[in-house]
Amino acid sequence: MEKELRLMKGNEAVAEAAIRAGADGYFGYPITPQSEIIEYLMEANPYETTGMVVLQAESEVAAINMVYGGAGCGKKVMTTSSSPGISLKQEGITYIAGAELPCLIVNVVRGGPGLGTIQPAQSDYFQAVKGGGHGDYHLIVLAPASVQEMADFVDLGFELAFRYRNPVMMLSDGAIGQMMEKVWLSPPKERSRTVPDWATTGKPPTRERNIITSLELDPNRQEIFNEKLVVKYNEIKEKEVRFEEFQCADAEYLFVAYGTSARVCQKAVELARNQGIKAGLLRPITLFPYPSKQLNKLADQVRLMLSVEMSAGQMVEDVMLSVNGKVPVYHYGRMGGMIPTPDEVVENLKERIKGGR
């Protein structure tokens, strides 16, 4: 079957892609700017066609624990929310990471802290990449920059989640969630009927009991488990780094940006080059694992890097760690639901080049 072309909002693309990816269950609770996901799924009613369960839970906390339960049974399950709702889910997320279960969590980020605003932001980078919940764990974090990628990363997210038995977060934002673009949808996949060997589906006489837990009271054994996680995260860092380079080959100045900011910076690269400034863009697609090696390599080539984010400056810390002092690294950001325009990004780059702050 061929791919199907549609004009969709990013949120709708996530919902449709989930059905097509053969997801077994969606558990969510509405919140702006991502309510179209659950609305679309309710309307599509995939239970009648693929058998996918769609359930509006009584709260975000309930939804993530339903995901925990579904994942424990070896099912392809997901939840979506926006910033305040994702904060509520953090306990469940760290338990799922601790129990080494696969699932997909989508955060369509809005401005914070607190209830903040319903307009787009990227201020949940630290929460997604550095923890969010407690304990030494990592999510695999995918950052879509288009409606197409919001669709594509559902399938990719599930694939990575099951490959590493690790929760995957798609870190989007209100702009990509709400905007409409063309999207090529993959043909629907059948829901999988095979049960992973670790899933808790009732003990047959032929094997030992499967236990899903994140509790280990013996510190020696807990440390062995933590070391096992570190090995897994290192493997992920080795194999799963994804990024896109835009006009980097001869770049003297580098923007680093993901998601909506990366789209803005792409235009900024064009504008800067029209003015004779050799700018380029590195767009991390995975935020964990981070494209540190590539940035470090580019640090030998460019004169400075400018991290552009819709935050007070969060990803910029990872850019700095990556280049380890080789070149100056700056941050430019808008907050509170404001989106930087390509012109103001170029102006900021020019100030940095002149030797401003």
């Binding site: 004009l7 702006t32 700017p33 905007m179 792409q266």
Partner: protein
């Protein structure tokens, strides 16, 4: 070819749906498109705006500050966005309720009195199609045939009986748009 368009007016004027029809038509015409709305409380009254980009190439930023064409449907939006038209660009506005008219000298200005016309035609809901018809006359970036197809795509089937009325309004918009200033 790239056409960067802003449509701004009151919530309920059909600003977002007009943009949506443009986007659908663009897809039918094999263009790259993006439709970036203001959302949230703005959809529930107050002002609403949407940025539509139609292009033969991959669209970089869906968020921009300067537009080839601004379609302005109330005074607040005119005050806010008159300066956002690129020099040499186009501003189209509906004169209904406008007390301070556009003043820029470096752009082309067109006026389409769609609100008045819609009420004359006894078809207030197709107001936005009169505006769109006017736009297409000035900027024929989409063919009328594809716009009608886009309309069908964007309207739920139960409203398809209204398509002839919409089509009439599109054609009426083409007729009534007036050139105020040519740059």
């Amino acid at each position: 070819m790239t056409e960067e368009i802003l449509i701004a007016g009151f919530g309920g004027q059909g600003v977002l749906s007009m943009g949506k029809i443009m986007a659908y038509s663009g897809v039918i015409q094999d263009m790259e498109v993006s439709w970036m709305p203001s959302y949230g409380p703005e959809m529930r009254g107050g002002t609403a705006n949407v940025i539509v980009i139609l292009s033969s190439e991959r669209i970089s930023s869906p968020i921009i500050r300067h537009f080839d064409t601004a379609i302005i449907l109330n005074q607040q939006s005119l005050d806010k966005f008159e300066q956002s038209v690129k020099p040499g660009g186009v501003l189209i506005y509906d004169g209904n309720g406008i007390t301070r008219h556009p003043e820029r000298k470096d752009i082309s200005i067109y006026r389409v009195d769609a609100a008045e016309e819609a009420s004359k035609m006894n078809s207030p809901k197709t107001f936005n199609m009169i505006v769109l018809g006017g736009f297409l006359k000035v900027k024929p970036v989409l063919t009328m045939e594809n716009v009608i197809k886009g309309l069908k795509k964007s309207l739920p089937e139960r409203y398809h009986k209204l398509i002839p009325e919409n089509e009439k309004s599109l054609l009426r918009g083409e007729e009534i748009i007036k050139e105020i200033q040519k740059f």
